[in-house]
């Protein structure tokens, strides 16, 4: 049985929790105690809804693709998170948390970023709300997502390169947490996905759940049905997927499909398909699936897409996976690129490399012609032009 708020006591089944050093206890404890109340407050809701509408540009459209529908013999819609201000779903969460931080009296924000989308979204929210902002980003990602680095800097954020590990998202997250430990008193950590210690996975899911809330309403208007047959989303940490799944979690009808990054293939060592090749452990303060060796060392993930290049996954997804309430497919770099090419050429939409993984699910499915399929187009591909130019042009 699916149920909206799968979380109880900070756990989704056996996944989740808050495995944090004592140094963060007060911060996380304060957050756990206050986040629901603040988020539910009239003041927060009014401000947040206003900004989502007039600043972010919500609701984002639910676009029916004639071309994809014809090709895949189903009724295929996409949720246009790419049209959000700053170009991805990340702003939903960044703005929510920045507002929350402000109401909690924090003046400083620290964040990690992979593709740079969360970093840009956080820097943007901080600028708007007058908070100072530090963003950690792996050195590898800084190199492959240069436009977003420039955007963050221009928005006044301090971008600090993470130099350990593969120098990607995991390492940036480590460094952001360390920074938080060292600046716990006045700083809030805006994590970019449904990962990290409780209450982050639940809080971020709530901020992103606007995606499925809108899908439901829009779908009813456009088709008469409010529940699709499928919702498909890419999964890095899993925030856009969590948001797209949320209001369908206890639907009997809707099948939920996540697309994780297989990189060069799940049987190579260059992959980020956590659920496919990972096992249970602790990463960034939560119990969940992660990629690790026999000794519990977290292994270095690989994906062409910086936003999916993460060796863990949100505990909600670990739970949905284990309880078979959602299906997770591993999509290779090449499959994602082919899907991006198809979307570009059929619909004139250049997706983020991350989102392209969700579209790559289409050729792997067998739909009935009446099936309503909603794909979450989590972000736009401007940041990925270099990769696309290499492979698509």
């Amino acid at each position: 049985m699916k149920s909206y708020t799968l979380i109880s006591n900070g756990y989704y089944g056996k996944f989740g929790g808050a495995y944090i050093p004592e140094l963060l206890f007060n911060n996380v404890d304060e957050l756990q105690k206050s986040y629901k109340k603040i988020i539910a407050s009239a003041e927060f809701q009014k401000k947040f809804k206003g900004l989502l509408k007039d600043y972010v540009g919500r609701p984002t459209p639910l676009y029916y693709s004639e071309a994809l529908s014809e090709k895949y013999k189903a009724r295929i819609f996409m949720k246009r998170e790419d049209l959000n201000h700053t170009g991805a779903h990340k702003i939903n969460n960044a703005l929510g948390q920045a507002l929350l931080a402000k109401m909690m009296g924090k003046q400083k924000i620290v964040a990690e970023t992979g593709a740079g989308q969360h970093g840009v979204a956080t820097a943007t929210a901080c600028t708007l709300l007058g908070l100072s902002c530090v963003v950690f980003m792996g050195e590898t990602d800084i190199a492959r997502q240069a436009p977003n680095v420039a955007r963050m800097k221009m928005l006044g954020a301090t971008v600090i390169p993470s130099l350990s590990g593969t120098k990607t998202l995991k390492d940036a997250t480590n460094d952001a947490i360390r920074y938080w430990i060292n600046h716990a008193a006045d700083t809030h950590y805006i994590i970019g996905s449904v990962v990290g210690p409780h209450p982050y996975p639940d809080m971020v899911t709530r901020f992103q759940s606007i995606i499925s809330k809108e899908i439901k309403i829009q779908l009813r208007k456009q088709t008469g049905e409010s529940e699709p047959d499928y919702v498909i989303a890419c999964v890095g940490g899993g925030s856009n997927a969590a948001g797209a799944f949320y209001h369908f979690l206890n639907s009997k009808k809707t099948k939920l499909v996540g697309a994780e990054a297989a990189g060069k293939g799940v049987h190579t060592h260059e992959t980020a398909a956590t659920l496919t090749i990972g096992s249970v452990g602790i990463i960034h303060g939560a119990k969940t699936y992660l990629m690790q060796n026999g000794d519990g060392q977290i292994t270095e993930p690989y994906s062409i897409s910086a936003g999916l290049d993460y060796p863990g996954i949100g505990p909600l997804h670990a739970f949905l996976h284990e309880s078979k309430q959602a299906t997770y497919l591993a999509i290779t770099d090449l499959e994602a690129l082919a899907a991006a090419r198809e979307l570009i050429h059929l619909d004139g939409i250049i997706p983020a490399l991350e989102s392209a993984h969700a579209f790559a699910v289409l050729p792997k499915m067998k739909f009935r012609p009446t099936d309503i399929v909603v794909i979450n187009l989590s972000g736009r591909g401007d940041k990925d032009m270099e990769a696309y130019l290499k492979f698509i042009l």
Binding site: Y19, P21, L23, S164, G165, N174, R178, I181, N182, A184
Partner: protein, 255 residues
Amino acid sequence: MKTLQEAILRNRHNNLSVFFTAGFPQAGSTTEILGILNDSAVDFIEVGIPFSDPLADGPVIQRSGTQALRNGMSLELLFTQLGEVRNTLTKPYLLMGYLNSLLAFGIEAFYRKCSESGIHHIIIPDLPVNEFLKEHKAFADHYEVSPVFLVTPDTSAKRIHEIDKISKAFIYLVSGNTTTGNQSSIQTEAIRKITGMKLKNPVIIGFGIKDREDYLQACSLADGAIIGSAFIAMIAESKNLQKDIPGFISQIKGS
């Protein structure tokens, strides 16, 4: 299991511990360093389990862990190394590591191996008290291994009392809200409040202690101090551990 607590209490305001990463700078360094420390003026020893993602650690300890992993260090190997030297060691030594290493090893197996290796205390910075009680305590008790918990100057009195109740060695007081090796100053006032709480356990200050001056200040406030990053930095530089380790310890202890 009383030994460590008793030893610390006997030596009130003058305990020095050092932390080093197993397998650094070479895989075989673990036993060599343990041997040298055992013969030095140090009071007890913390052996760090190298981990790929040490959240609570600063750059010096991070780098030593990365090197140790490159050297092929593992928890399995560490237990083997400890097994080799346990009978030659007279100073108390404990393990410090992250929860994921322990989970991968298997919780029960871990505690059993600790016990077999002469480990009576462990420090797992990302293992919350509740989780310990729920998932670990039964095994820990069975194998007579007890946890040391971290507290900070900001930890509530209530929580400190809870931790004091279940601790059997000492309370690890983090000098300030900081990762290891950070140069933040010791929060004297806040620490006095904690040491004035009449706890049953001695209080040892760690994180950011780097020289004799820090050590003396820590001893003036609590029962002693732990040096990690500064010790590892010295090891990383040293060309003669046999000479440099005792020298470092004597210099700090003033002995």
